[in-house]
Protein backbone atom coordinates (compact mmCIF):
# COMPACT_ATOMS: atom_id res chain seq x y z
CA UNK A 1 0.00 0.00 0.00
CA UNK A 2 1.33 3.40 -0.97
CA UNK A 3 1.38 5.77 1.99
CA UNK A 4 2.87 8.85 0.35
CA UNK A 5 3.05 9.50 -3.38
CA UNK A 6 4.77 12.39 -5.10
CA UNK A 7 3.98 13.03 -8.77
CA UNK A 8 6.21 15.39 -10.74
CA UNK A 9 6.83 17.52 -7.66
CA UNK A 10 8.69 20.76 -8.26
CA UNK A 11 9.64 23.32 -5.67
CA UNK A 12 10.89 26.76 -6.35
CA UNK A 13 12.32 29.03 -3.66
CA UNK A 14 12.83 32.50 -5.09
CA UNK A 15 14.47 32.04 -8.48
CA UNK A 16 16.00 28.74 -7.57
CA UNK A 17 14.31 25.44 -8.40
CA UNK A 18 15.29 23.10 -5.59
CA UNK A 19 13.10 20.16 -6.66
CA UNK A 20 12.90 19.61 -10.40
CA UNK A 21 10.20 17.01 -10.87
CA UNK A 22 10.21 14.24 -8.31
CA UNK A 23 8.20 11.07 -8.70
CA UNK A 24 8.33 8.90 -5.59
CA UNK A 25 6.17 6.38 -3.78
CA UNK A 26 6.68 5.53 -0.12
CA UNK A 27 5.10 2.22 0.82
CA UNK A 28 3.57 1.51 4.16
CA UNK A 29 5.99 -0.22 6.50
CA UNK A 30 9.16 0.38 4.50
CA UNK A 31 12.37 2.01 5.68
CA UNK A 32 13.42 4.44 2.99
CA UNK A 33 16.67 6.34 3.03
CA UNK A 34 17.14 9.49 0.96
CA UNK A 35 20.78 10.25 0.37
CA UNK A 36 22.52 13.06 -1.38
CA UNK A 37 24.96 15.87 -0.97
CA UNK A 38 24.21 18.96 0.97
CA UNK A 39 21.89 21.24 -1.03
CA UNK A 40 20.59 18.43 -3.21
CA UNK A 41 16.99 18.98 -2.01
CA UNK A 42 16.70 16.06 0.47
CA UNK A 43 15.22 18.12 3.32
CA UNK A 44 12.86 19.98 1.00
CA UNK A 45 11.58 16.66 -0.22
CA UNK A 46 11.10 15.48 3.36
CA UNK A 47 9.12 18.61 4.32
CA UNK A 48 6.81 18.10 1.36
CA UNK A 49 6.37 14.40 2.24
CA UNK A 50 5.49 15.47 5.79
CA UNK A 51 2.91 18.02 4.58
CA UNK A 52 4.89 20.78 6.21
CA UNK A 53 5.58 22.38 2.84
CA UNK A 54 3.77 22.32 -0.46
CA UNK A 55 5.11 21.91 -3.99
CA UNK A 56 5.12 24.75 -6.50
CA UNK A 57 4.01 22.22 -9.10
CA UNK A 58 3.01 18.58 -9.07
CA UNK A 59 0.82 16.56 -6.75
CA UNK A 60 1.24 14.94 -3.36
CA UNK A 61 -0.98 12.16 -2.13
CA UNK A 62 -1.20 10.99 1.45
CA UNK A 63 -2.96 7.63 1.75
CA UNK A 64 -4.45 8.24 -1.68
CA UNK A 65 -5.83 11.69 -0.92
CA UNK A 66 -4.47 14.68 -2.77
CA UNK A 67 -3.02 17.06 -0.19
CA UNK A 68 -3.54 20.30 -2.14
CA UNK A 69 -7.31 19.81 -2.03
CA UNK A 70 -7.32 19.42 1.76
CA UNK A 71 -8.36 22.06 4.27
CA UNK A 72 -5.32 23.45 6.19
CA UNK A 73 -6.89 22.22 9.45
CA UNK A 74 -7.07 18.68 8.02
CA UNK A 75 -3.43 18.90 6.93
CA UNK A 76 -2.48 19.98 10.47
CA UNK A 77 -4.48 17.07 11.86
CA UNK A 78 -2.67 14.60 9.58
CA UNK A 79 0.68 16.04 10.65
CA UNK A 80 -0.35 15.66 14.26
CA UNK A 81 -1.74 12.16 14.09
CA UNK A 82 0.01 10.42 11.21
CA UNK A 83 3.42 12.04 10.85
CA UNK A 84 6.31 12.24 13.28
CA UNK A 85 9.29 14.47 12.55
CA UNK A 86 12.81 13.97 13.88
CA UNK A 87 15.34 16.66 13.01
CA UNK A 88 19.10 16.95 13.13
CA UNK A 89 18.64 19.35 16.02
CA UNK A 90 16.28 18.08 18.66
CA UNK A 91 14.07 21.23 18.70
CA UNK A 92 12.73 20.36 22.12
CA UNK A 93 10.89 23.20 23.83
CA UNK A 94 13.18 24.54 26.58
CA UNK A 95 10.30 25.69 28.82
CA UNK A 96 9.12 22.12 29.27
CA UNK A 97 10.67 19.07 30.85
CA UNK A 98 11.24 15.89 28.84
CA UNK A 99 7.91 14.40 29.84
CA UNK A 100 5.97 17.51 28.84
CA UNK A 101 7.82 17.74 25.53
CA UNK A 102 6.63 14.26 24.67
CA UNK A 103 3.11 15.04 25.84
CA UNK A 104 2.64 18.12 23.64
CA UNK A 105 1.57 16.34 20.40
CA UNK A 106 -0.77 14.11 22.41
CA UNK A 107 -2.44 17.07 24.08
CA UNK A 108 -2.95 18.62 20.65
CA UNK A 109 -4.62 15.38 19.55
CA UNK A 110 -7.01 15.70 22.47
CA UNK A 111 -5.69 12.87 24.60
CA UNK A 112 -6.46 13.56 28.28
CA UNK A 113 -3.49 14.83 30.27
CA UNK A 114 -3.21 11.82 32.56
CA UNK A 115 -3.32 9.38 29.66
CA UNK A 116 -0.81 11.46 27.71
CA UNK A 117 1.50 11.51 30.71
CA UNK A 118 1.30 7.72 31.05
CA UNK A 119 2.09 7.17 27.38
CA UNK A 120 4.94 9.72 27.48
CA UNK A 121 6.47 7.89 30.47
CA UNK A 122 6.27 4.58 28.61
CA UNK A 123 7.92 6.03 25.53
CA UNK A 124 10.72 7.65 27.49
CA UNK A 125 11.27 4.44 29.40
CA UNK A 126 11.42 2.40 26.19
CA UNK A 127 14.11 4.78 24.89
CA UNK A 128 16.22 4.48 28.03
CA UNK A 129 15.19 7.74 29.65
CA UNK A 130 13.52 6.27 32.68
CA UNK A 131 13.91 8.53 35.72
CA UNK A 132 14.78 11.59 33.63
CA UNK A 133 11.22 12.60 32.78
CA UNK A 134 11.19 15.71 34.93
CA UNK A 135 14.52 17.00 33.71
CA UNK A 136 14.77 20.10 31.60
CA UNK A 137 16.57 19.76 28.29
CA UNK A 138 19.69 21.52 29.53
CA UNK A 139 20.01 18.79 32.17
CA UNK A 140 20.43 15.93 29.69
CA UNK A 141 22.99 14.93 27.03
CA UNK A 142 22.68 15.44 23.26
CA UNK A 143 21.86 11.76 22.73
CA UNK A 144 19.16 11.90 25.38
CA UNK A 145 17.69 15.01 23.79
CA UNK A 146 17.52 13.27 20.43
CA UNK A 147 15.90 10.19 21.99
CA UNK A 148 13.36 12.49 23.61
CA UNK A 149 12.71 14.04 20.19
CA UNK A 150 12.12 10.53 18.80
CA UNK A 151 9.76 9.78 21.69
CA UNK A 152 7.87 12.97 20.85
CA UNK A 153 7.67 11.94 17.18
CA UNK A 154 6.26 8.57 18.26
CA UNK A 155 3.81 10.06 20.75
CA UNK A 156 0.69 9.80 18.61
CA UNK A 157 1.71 6.46 17.14
CA UNK A 158 2.19 7.93 13.65
CA UNK A 159 2.11 6.03 10.37
CA UNK A 160 5.37 7.53 9.23
CA UNK A 161 8.48 8.89 10.89
CA UNK A 162 10.33 11.45 8.80
CA UNK A 163 13.87 11.83 10.07
CA UNK A 164 16.04 14.64 8.71
CA UNK A 165 19.69 13.80 9.45
CA UNK A 166 18.67 12.41 12.84
CA UNK A 167 22.24 11.46 13.73
CA UNK A 168 23.96 14.49 12.25
CA UNK A 169 24.69 15.98 15.64
CA UNK A 170 25.52 12.83 17.55
CA UNK A 171 28.64 10.87 18.41
CA UNK A 172 29.03 7.36 17.06
CA UNK A 173 27.63 5.67 20.14
CA UNK A 174 24.48 7.76 20.13
CA UNK A 175 24.28 7.44 16.33
CA UNK A 176 24.13 3.68 16.67
CA UNK A 177 21.57 3.94 19.41
CA UNK A 178 19.30 6.24 17.37
CA UNK A 179 19.64 4.05 14.27
CA UNK A 180 18.72 1.04 16.34
CA UNK A 181 15.64 2.85 17.61
CA UNK A 182 14.59 3.80 14.07
CA UNK A 183 15.01 0.21 12.97
CA UNK A 184 12.95 -0.99 15.91
CA UNK A 185 10.25 1.55 15.08
CA UNK A 186 10.18 0.33 11.51
CA UNK A 187 10.06 -3.28 12.64
CA UNK A 188 6.97 -2.48 14.66
CA UNK A 189 5.23 -1.50 11.41
CA UNK A 190 5.83 2.22 11.21
CA UNK A 191 7.11 3.60 7.95
CA UNK A 192 10.42 5.43 8.30
CA UNK A 193 11.89 7.88 5.81
CA UNK A 194 15.38 9.01 6.74
CA UNK A 195 17.35 11.72 5.06
CA UNK A 196 21.10 11.37 5.46
CA UNK A 197 24.29 12.08 3.67
CA UNK A 198 26.01 9.09 5.27
CA UNK A 199 25.79 6.14 2.95
CA UNK A 200 26.72 3.58 5.63
CA UNK A 201 23.68 4.58 7.66
CA UNK A 202 21.45 4.64 4.57
CA UNK A 203 22.44 1.07 3.86
CA UNK A 204 20.53 -0.05 6.94
CA UNK A 205 17.30 1.01 5.20
CA UNK A 206 15.15 -1.25 2.98
CA UNK A 207 15.46 1.10 0.04
CA UNK A 208 17.76 3.96 -0.87
CA UNK A 209 17.02 6.82 -3.23
CA UNK A 210 19.66 9.32 -4.14
CA UNK A 211 19.13 12.97 -4.90
CA UNK A 212 21.30 15.23 -6.97
CA UNK A 213 20.56 18.83 -7.87
CA UNK A 214 16.88 18.48 -7.13
CA UNK A 215 16.35 15.23 -9.00
CA UNK A 216 16.16 11.59 -7.97
CA UNK A 217 18.99 9.81 -9.66
CA UNK A 218 18.71 6.33 -8.15
Amino acid sequence: MVLIELVNVKKRVGNEEILKGIDLKVHKGEFLAVVGASGSGKSSLLYIMGLLDFPTEGRVFFKGQQVSSMDPQVVSKIRNESVGFVFQFHYLLPEFNLLENVMIPMLKKGIPKRQAEERARELLKSLGLDGKEKRKIYQVSGGEMQRTAIARALANNPEVILADEPTGNLDSKNTQMVMQILEDINRSGTTVVMVTHELNLAKRADRIVQMKDGLLVL
Partner: protein
Protein backbone atom coordinates in the same frame (compact mmCIF):
# COMPACT_ATOMS: atom_id res chain seq x y z
CA UNK B 1 -7.81 24.71 23.30
CA UNK B 2 -6.33 23.44 26.57
CA UNK B 3 -3.14 22.36 24.85
CA UNK B 4 -2.48 25.87 23.51
CA UNK B 5 -3.27 27.42 26.89
CA UNK B 6 -0.84 24.98 28.50
CA UNK B 7 1.97 26.12 26.19
CA UNK B 8 0.98 29.80 26.49
CA UNK B 9 1.13 29.51 30.27
CA UNK B 10 4.62 28.00 30.14
CA UNK B 11 5.93 30.65 27.72
CA UNK B 12 4.54 33.40 29.93
CA UNK B 13 6.11 31.96 33.05
CA UNK B 14 9.46 31.67 31.36
CA UNK B 15 9.66 35.48 31.16
CA UNK B 16 8.61 36.22 34.69
CA UNK B 17 10.24 39.62 34.94
CA UNK B 18 8.94 41.02 31.64
CA UNK B 19 5.52 39.53 32.34
CA UNK B 20 5.46 41.18 35.74
CA UNK B 21 6.43 44.56 34.27
CA UNK B 22 3.67 44.29 31.64
CA UNK B 23 1.12 43.18 34.23
CA UNK B 24 2.12 46.10 36.45
CA UNK B 25 1.72 48.51 33.53
CA UNK B 26 -1.82 47.32 32.90
CA UNK B 27 -2.54 47.37 36.64
CA UNK B 28 -1.49 51.01 36.89
CA UNK B 29 -3.80 51.89 33.99
CA UNK B 30 -6.69 49.98 35.56
CA UNK B 31 -6.02 51.49 38.98
CA UNK B 32 -5.88 54.99 37.47
CA UNK B 33 -9.12 54.45 35.61
CA UNK B 34 -10.94 53.21 38.72
CA UNK B 35 -9.56 55.89 41.06
CA UNK B 36 -9.92 58.80 38.65
CA UNK B 37 -13.41 57.77 37.54
CA UNK B 38 -14.64 57.41 41.10
CA UNK B 39 -13.09 60.76 42.05
CA UNK B 40 -14.37 62.64 39.03
CA UNK B 41 -17.82 61.14 38.98
CA UNK B 42 -18.06 61.28 42.76
CA UNK B 43 -17.49 65.00 42.67
CA UNK B 44 -19.70 65.58 39.64
CA UNK B 45 -22.54 63.39 40.83
CA UNK B 46 -22.45 65.06 44.24
CA UNK B 47 -22.66 68.48 42.62
CA UNK B 48 -25.47 67.44 40.28
CA UNK B 49 -27.36 65.70 43.09
CA UNK B 50 -27.15 68.79 45.31
CA UNK B 51 -28.30 70.95 42.44
CA UNK B 52 -31.17 68.63 41.64
CA UNK B 53 -32.27 68.41 45.27
CA UNK B 54 -31.95 72.08 45.97
CA UNK B 55 -32.64 73.90 42.77
CA UNK B 56 -35.72 73.85 40.61
CA UNK B 57 -35.67 71.09 38.07
CA UNK B 58 -37.49 73.61 35.91
CA UNK B 59 -37.93 77.29 36.61
CA UNK B 60 -40.28 79.76 34.97
CA UNK B 61 -38.96 83.30 34.99
CA UNK B 62 -39.85 86.59 33.33
CA UNK B 63 -38.15 87.04 30.01
CA UNK B 64 -35.69 89.75 29.25
CA UNK B 65 -36.71 91.65 26.14
CA UNK B 66 -35.40 94.50 24.05
CA UNK B 67 -37.40 97.47 22.90
CA UNK B 68 -35.77 98.03 19.54
CA UNK B 69 -39.02 97.25 17.70
CA UNK B 70 -40.96 99.75 19.75
CA UNK B 71 -38.35 102.46 19.12
CA UNK B 72 -38.38 101.71 15.40
CA UNK B 73 -42.18 101.83 15.27
CA UNK B 74 -42.03 105.36 16.61
CA UNK B 75 -39.73 106.47 13.79
CA UNK B 76 -41.15 107.73 10.52
CA UNK B 77 -41.48 105.07 7.91
CA UNK B 78 -39.38 106.86 5.32
CA UNK B 79 -36.75 108.02 7.83
CA UNK B 80 -33.25 106.59 7.91
CA UNK B 81 -32.69 105.61 11.49
CA UNK B 82 -30.31 103.78 13.71
CA UNK B 83 -30.81 102.69 17.32
CA UNK B 84 -27.66 103.64 19.28
CA UNK B 85 -28.70 102.38 22.65
CA UNK B 86 -31.22 99.90 23.84
CA UNK B 87 -31.26 98.60 27.39
CA UNK B 88 -32.66 95.12 27.84
CA UNK B 89 -35.80 95.42 29.93
CA UNK B 90 -37.48 92.96 32.14
CA UNK B 91 -40.95 92.95 33.52
CA UNK B 92 -39.89 91.31 36.74
CA UNK B 93 -43.06 89.50 37.58
CA UNK B 94 -45.12 86.60 36.39
CA UNK B 95 -48.62 87.65 35.59
CA UNK B 96 -51.28 85.01 36.23
CA UNK B 97 -48.93 82.76 38.16
CA UNK B 98 -51.81 80.96 39.88
CA UNK B 99 -53.22 79.85 36.51
CA UNK B 100 -49.78 78.74 35.37
CA UNK B 101 -49.39 76.66 38.53
CA UNK B 102 -52.77 75.06 38.00
CA UNK B 103 -51.86 74.14 34.41
CA UNK B 104 -48.48 72.78 35.40
CA UNK B 105 -49.90 70.70 38.24
CA UNK B 106 -52.21 68.93 35.82
CA UNK B 107 -49.24 67.20 34.21
CA UNK B 108 -48.43 63.69 35.39
CA UNK B 109 -44.69 64.12 35.05
CA UNK B 110 -44.61 66.96 37.61
CA UNK B 111 -43.95 66.16 41.26
CA UNK B 112 -44.48 69.60 42.80
CA UNK B 113 -44.58 73.35 42.21
CA UNK B 114 -43.64 76.36 44.35
CA UNK B 115 -43.33 80.10 43.84
CA UNK B 116 -40.49 82.47 44.65
CA UNK B 117 -39.99 86.17 44.80
CA UNK B 118 -36.33 86.86 44.16
CA UNK B 119 -34.77 90.21 45.03
CA UNK B 120 -31.40 91.72 45.89
CA UNK B 121 -30.46 93.28 49.17
CA UNK B 122 -27.63 94.00 51.55
CA UNK B 123 -27.43 92.23 54.86
CA UNK B 124 -25.72 93.99 57.74
CA UNK B 125 -24.50 92.51 60.98
CA UNK B 126 -22.64 94.87 63.18
CA UNK B 127 -20.14 96.65 60.98
CA UNK B 128 -20.10 93.94 58.37
CA UNK B 129 -22.33 93.90 55.34
CA UNK B 130 -22.78 91.66 52.36
CA UNK B 131 -24.87 91.77 49.20
CA UNK B 132 -27.22 88.80 49.04
CA UNK B 133 -29.88 87.21 46.90
CA UNK B 134 -33.16 87.20 48.78
CA UNK B 135 -35.50 84.37 48.00
CA UNK B 136 -39.02 84.71 49.29
CA UNK B 137 -40.53 81.26 49.68
CA UNK B 138 -43.83 79.85 50.80
CA UNK B 139 -42.83 77.35 53.53
CA UNK B 140 -45.88 75.21 52.75
CA UNK B 141 -45.24 75.02 49.03
CA UNK B 142 -41.45 74.95 48.99
CA UNK B 143 -40.89 71.36 50.21
CA UNK B 144 -42.97 70.16 47.25
CA UNK B 145 -40.48 71.63 44.81
CA UNK B 146 -37.16 71.11 46.61
CA UNK B 147 -35.63 69.28 49.54
CA UNK B 148 -34.57 72.55 51.18
CA UNK B 149 -35.13 71.18 54.70
CA UNK B 150 -32.31 68.66 54.16
CA UNK B 151 -29.81 71.48 53.84
CA UNK B 152 -30.94 73.38 56.93
CA UNK B 153 -28.59 72.86 59.83
CA UNK B 154 -31.36 73.10 62.46
CA UNK B 155 -34.31 71.98 60.29
CA UNK B 156 -36.28 75.10 61.19
CA UNK B 157 -38.14 75.79 57.96
CA UNK B 158 -41.34 75.96 59.99
CA UNK B 159 -40.01 79.09 61.71
CA UNK B 160 -40.76 81.03 58.53
CA UNK B 161 -44.45 80.33 59.11
CA UNK B 162 -44.59 81.48 62.70
CA UNK B 163 -42.09 84.27 62.57
CA UNK B 164 -42.49 86.71 59.69
CA UNK B 165 -39.11 88.24 60.50
CA UNK B 166 -37.28 84.95 60.20
CA UNK B 167 -34.34 84.49 57.88
CA UNK B 168 -32.51 81.42 56.72
CA UNK B 169 -29.00 82.50 55.84
CA UNK B 170 -26.49 80.76 53.60
CA UNK B 171 -23.65 79.25 55.62
CA UNK B 172 -20.96 81.25 53.87
CA UNK B 173 -23.01 84.47 54.06
CA UNK B 174 -23.22 83.93 57.81
CA UNK B 175 -19.52 83.16 57.97
CA UNK B 176 -18.64 86.36 56.09
CA UNK B 177 -20.88 88.41 58.37
CA UNK B 178 -19.51 86.70 61.45
CA UNK B 179 -22.81 85.15 62.51
CA UNK B 180 -22.10 81.95 64.38
CA UNK B 181 -25.41 81.18 66.08
CA UNK B 182 -29.09 81.44 65.30
CA UNK B 183 -31.16 84.12 66.98
CA UNK B 184 -28.92 86.97 65.86
CA UNK B 185 -30.57 90.12 64.54
CA UNK B 186 -29.47 91.47 61.17
CA UNK B 187 -30.47 94.51 59.15
CA UNK B 188 -31.64 94.06 55.61
CA UNK B 189 -31.43 97.00 53.21
CA UNK B 190 -33.33 96.90 49.93
CA UNK B 191 -33.03 98.80 46.67
CA UNK B 192 -36.17 100.81 47.44
CA UNK B 193 -34.47 102.26 50.47
CA UNK B 194 -36.39 100.28 53.03
CA UNK B 195 -34.65 98.47 55.85
CA UNK B 196 -35.84 95.78 58.19
CA UNK B 197 -34.54 94.16 61.33
CA UNK B 198 -34.74 90.40 60.89
CA UNK B 199 -33.75 87.40 62.94
CA UNK B 200 -31.51 84.55 61.75
CA UNK B 201 -33.39 81.30 62.46
CA UNK B 202 -31.32 78.80 60.58
CA UNK B 203 -28.31 78.28 58.35
CA UNK B 204 -28.47 76.89 54.90
CA UNK B 205 -25.57 74.62 53.97
CA UNK B 206 -25.78 72.92 50.57
CA UNK B 207 -22.04 72.43 50.11
CA UNK B 208 -22.16 74.36 46.83
CA UNK B 209 -20.05 77.44 47.37
CA UNK B 210 -21.77 79.95 45.10
CA UNK B 211 -25.21 79.11 46.56
CA UNK B 212 -24.20 79.16 50.23
CA UNK B 213 -22.29 82.36 49.64
CA UNK B 214 -25.21 84.39 48.30
CA UNK B 215 -28.61 83.09 49.35
CA UNK B 216 -30.93 84.19 52.07
CA UNK B 217 -34.40 82.66 52.40
CA UNK B 218 -37.37 84.40 53.99
CA UNK B 219 -41.14 84.19 53.88
CA UNK B 220 -42.50 85.36 50.53
CA UNK B 221 -45.10 87.59 52.20
CA UNK B 222 -42.39 89.39 54.17
CA UNK B 223 -40.33 90.01 51.05
CA UNK B 224 -43.39 91.10 49.09
CA UNK B 225 -44.18 93.61 51.83
CA UNK B 226 -40.62 94.89 52.05
CA UNK B 227 -40.29 95.34 48.29
CA UNK B 228 -43.79 96.77 47.86
CA UNK B 229 -44.67 93.92 45.51
CA UNK B 230 -47.80 92.55 47.07
CA UNK B 231 -48.89 89.19 45.69
CA UNK B 232 -46.12 89.25 43.08
CA UNK B 233 -43.86 86.35 42.23
CA UNK B 234 -41.04 86.33 39.71
CA UNK B 235 -40.14 82.67 39.68
CA UNK B 236 -42.10 79.44 39.57
CA UNK B 237 -40.04 76.43 40.52
CA UNK B 238 -41.03 72.95 39.42
CA UNK B 239 -39.92 69.55 40.61
CA UNK B 240 -40.31 66.76 38.04
CA UNK B 241 -40.58 63.04 38.67
CA UNK B 242 -37.70 62.12 36.36
CA UNK B 243 -34.88 64.67 36.51
CA UNK B 244 -33.44 63.45 33.24
CA UNK B 245 -36.64 64.48 31.44
CA UNK B 246 -36.55 68.04 32.79
CA UNK B 247 -35.21 69.52 29.55
CA UNK B 248 -37.89 67.83 27.48
CA UNK B 249 -40.66 68.94 29.85
CA UNK B 250 -39.27 72.48 29.89
CA UNK B 251 -39.41 72.65 26.11
CA UNK B 252 -42.94 71.34 26.22
CA UNK B 253 -44.02 73.94 28.81
CA UNK B 254 -42.33 76.71 26.86
CA UNK B 255 -44.74 76.19 23.95
CA UNK B 256 -47.66 77.59 25.95
CA UNK B 257 -45.89 80.21 28.06
CA UNK B 258 -44.55 83.65 27.24
CA UNK B 259 -42.08 83.37 30.14
CA UNK B 260 -38.66 81.83 30.06
CA UNK B 261 -38.80 78.14 30.97
CA UNK B 262 -35.42 76.79 31.96
CA UNK B 263 -34.43 73.26 32.95
CA UNK B 264 -31.67 72.57 35.45
CA UNK B 265 -29.57 71.17 32.60
CA UNK B 266 -29.79 74.54 30.81
CA UNK B 267 -29.26 76.55 33.96
CA UNK B 268 -26.10 74.60 34.78
CA UNK B 269 -24.95 74.03 31.22
CA UNK B 270 -21.57 75.65 31.89
CA UNK B 271 -20.84 73.26 34.73
CA UNK B 272 -22.05 70.28 32.76
CA UNK B 273 -19.80 71.28 29.87
CA UNK B 274 -16.83 71.61 32.23
CA UNK B 275 -17.61 68.16 33.59
CA UNK B 276 -17.63 66.77 30.08
CA UNK B 277 -14.22 68.30 29.41
CA UNK B 278 -12.96 66.99 32.76
CA UNK B 279 -14.14 63.51 31.87
CA UNK B 280 -12.53 63.75 28.47
CA UNK B 281 -9.20 64.76 30.02
CA UNK B 282 -9.49 61.96 32.59
CA UNK B 283 -10.09 59.35 29.93
CA UNK B 284 -7.31 60.74 27.77
CA UNK B 285 -4.88 60.30 30.67
CA UNK B 286 -6.11 56.77 31.28
CA UNK B 287 -5.94 56.08 27.55
CA UNK B 288 -2.31 57.26 27.53
CA UNK B 289 -1.43 55.03 30.50
CA UNK B 290 -3.12 52.02 28.94
CA UNK B 291 -1.47 52.73 25.59
CA UNK B 292 1.94 52.68 27.25
CA UNK B 293 1.09 49.40 28.95
CA UNK B 294 -0.21 48.08 25.62
CA UNK B 295 3.22 48.77 24.14
CA UNK B 296 4.65 46.74 27.00
CA UNK B 297 2.43 43.83 26.06
CA UNK B 298 3.22 44.27 22.38
CA UNK B 299 6.91 44.24 23.22
CA UNK B 300 6.84 41.10 25.32
CA UNK B 301 4.74 39.14 22.83
CA UNK B 302 6.80 40.32 19.87
CA UNK B 303 10.03 39.41 21.65
CA UNK B 304 8.63 35.99 22.47
CA UNK B 305 7.60 35.44 18.86
CA UNK B 306 11.00 36.47 17.54
CA UNK B 307 12.87 34.33 20.06
CA UNK B 308 10.57 31.35 19.75
CA UNK B 309 10.50 31.04 16.00
CA UNK B 310 11.98 27.56 16.14
CA UNK B 311 9.53 26.48 18.80
CA UNK B 312 6.68 27.78 16.66
CA UNK B 313 8.05 25.86 13.68
CA UNK B 314 8.32 22.61 15.63
CA UNK B 315 4.83 23.08 17.04
CA UNK B 316 3.56 23.45 13.47
CA UNK B 317 5.48 20.32 12.51
CA UNK B 318 3.71 18.54 15.38
CA UNK B 319 0.36 19.49 13.92
CA UNK B 320 -0.41 22.78 15.59
CA UNK B 321 -2.39 24.88 13.15
CA UNK B 322 -1.95 28.58 12.44
CA UNK B 323 -5.10 29.21 14.47
CA UNK B 324 -3.55 27.36 17.44
CA UNK B 325 -0.41 29.51 17.20
CA UNK B 326 -2.47 32.71 16.91
CA UNK B 327 -4.53 31.73 19.93
CA UNK B 328 -1.44 30.69 21.90
CA UNK B 329 0.16 34.15 21.69
CA UNK B 330 -3.11 36.02 21.90
CA UNK B 331 -3.84 34.10 25.10
CA UNK B 332 -0.56 35.36 26.56
CA UNK B 333 -1.53 38.97 25.84
CA UNK B 334 -4.99 38.46 27.26
CA UNK B 335 -3.55 36.74 30.31
CA UNK B 336 -1.35 39.79 30.95
CA UNK B 337 -4.42 41.99 30.52
CA UNK B 338 -6.45 39.81 32.86
CA UNK B 339 -3.78 39.63 35.55
CA UNK B 340 -3.17 43.37 35.17
CA UNK B 341 -6.88 44.02 35.60
CA UNK B 342 -7.05 41.89 38.77
CA UNK B 343 -3.98 43.57 40.25
CA UNK B 344 -5.38 46.94 39.13
CA UNK B 345 -8.66 46.15 40.92
CA UNK B 346 -6.78 45.55 44.16
CA UNK B 347 -4.68 48.70 43.75
CA UNK B 348 -7.74 50.71 42.70
CA UNK B 349 -9.72 49.47 45.68
CA UNK B 350 -6.85 50.25 48.05
CA UNK B 351 -6.52 53.74 46.55
CA UNK B 352 -10.26 54.32 46.92
CA UNK B 353 -10.04 53.23 50.55
CA UNK B 354 -7.17 55.60 51.14
CA UNK B 355 -8.86 58.55 49.39
CA UNK B 356 -12.09 58.00 51.28
CA UNK B 357 -10.19 58.05 54.57
CA UNK B 358 -8.38 61.32 53.85
CA UNK B 359 -9.80 64.19 55.91
CA UNK B 360 -9.26 67.60 54.43
CA UNK B 361 -11.28 70.72 53.75
CA UNK B 362 -12.05 70.91 50.08
CA UNK B 363 -13.12 74.43 49.13
CA UNK B 364 -13.98 75.15 45.54
CA UNK B 365 -17.06 74.66 43.50
CA UNK B 366 -18.24 72.48 46.35
CA UNK B 367 -17.21 72.28 50.00
CA UNK B 368 -16.60 68.94 51.62
CA UNK B 369 -14.58 67.41 54.40
CA UNK B 370 -12.77 64.98 52.15
CA UNK B 371 -12.94 63.40 48.74
CA UNK B 372 -16.34 62.36 47.50
CA UNK B 373 -16.02 59.07 45.69
CA UNK B 374 -18.42 57.30 43.41
CA UNK B 375 -17.58 53.68 44.22
CA UNK B 376 -19.97 51.93 41.90
CA UNK B 377 -18.64 48.57 40.62
CA UNK B 378 -19.37 49.65 37.04
CA UNK B 379 -15.96 51.39 36.94
CA UNK B 380 -14.29 48.06 37.64
CA UNK B 381 -16.19 46.60 34.72
CA UNK B 382 -15.15 49.49 32.46
CA UNK B 383 -11.54 49.08 33.57
CA UNK B 384 -11.69 45.35 32.86
CA UNK B 385 -13.15 45.90 29.40
CA UNK B 386 -10.53 48.56 28.63
CA UNK B 387 -7.62 46.42 29.80
CA UNK B 388 -8.80 43.37 27.83
CA UNK B 389 -9.44 45.52 24.77
CA UNK B 390 -5.95 47.05 24.91
CA UNK B 391 -4.32 43.69 25.62
CA UNK B 392 -6.11 42.12 22.69
CA UNK B 393 -5.02 44.82 20.26
CA UNK B 394 -1.47 44.94 21.62
CA UNK B 395 -1.01 41.19 21.25
CA UNK B 396 -2.92 40.66 18.04
CA UNK B 397 -0.25 41.77 15.58
CA UNK B 398 2.65 39.76 17.07
CA UNK B 399 0.33 36.77 17.43
CA UNK B 400 -0.72 37.11 13.82
CA UNK B 401 2.94 37.36 12.79
CA UNK B 402 3.63 34.16 14.72
CA UNK B 403 0.79 32.35 13.02
CA UNK B 404 2.03 33.39 9.56
CA UNK B 405 5.59 32.11 10.07
CA UNK B 406 6.70 29.49 7.57
CA UNK B 407 8.17 26.54 9.51
CA UNK B 408 10.21 25.35 6.56
CA UNK B 409 11.99 28.71 6.25
CA UNK B 410 12.86 28.51 9.94
CA UNK B 411 14.19 24.95 9.70
CA UNK B 412 16.19 25.88 6.60
CA UNK B 413 17.77 28.82 8.39
CA UNK B 414 19.02 26.33 10.99
Amino acid sequence: MNHTLFIAYKLLLERKRQTLVSVTGVAIGVCALIAMSSLMFGFQNYFIQQVIDLEAHISIKPKEYEEEDRIVKKAKQDAIWEVYGNKPKEKDKIVGWRDIIKEVQKREDIAGVAVHLVARGILKYGVKEKPVTLIGIDPDMEPKASVINRFLENKRLEKLKTNKDALIVGKLVAKDLGIKDTGKKVILSLANGRTALLRVEDFFNSGITNIDNSRVYMHIKTLQALTDRSDEVNEIVIKVKDVNKAQKIALDLQKNLRYDVESWQRAYINFLQIFKIQNLITYMIVFAILTVSAFGIFNIIMMTVLEKKKDIAILMAMGYSRKDILFMFLAQGLAIGFLGAILGFLLGYALQEYLSSVKLDVEGLIRTKGFILDRRPIYYLYAFIFSMFFSFFASFYPSYRASRLNPVDIFRSG
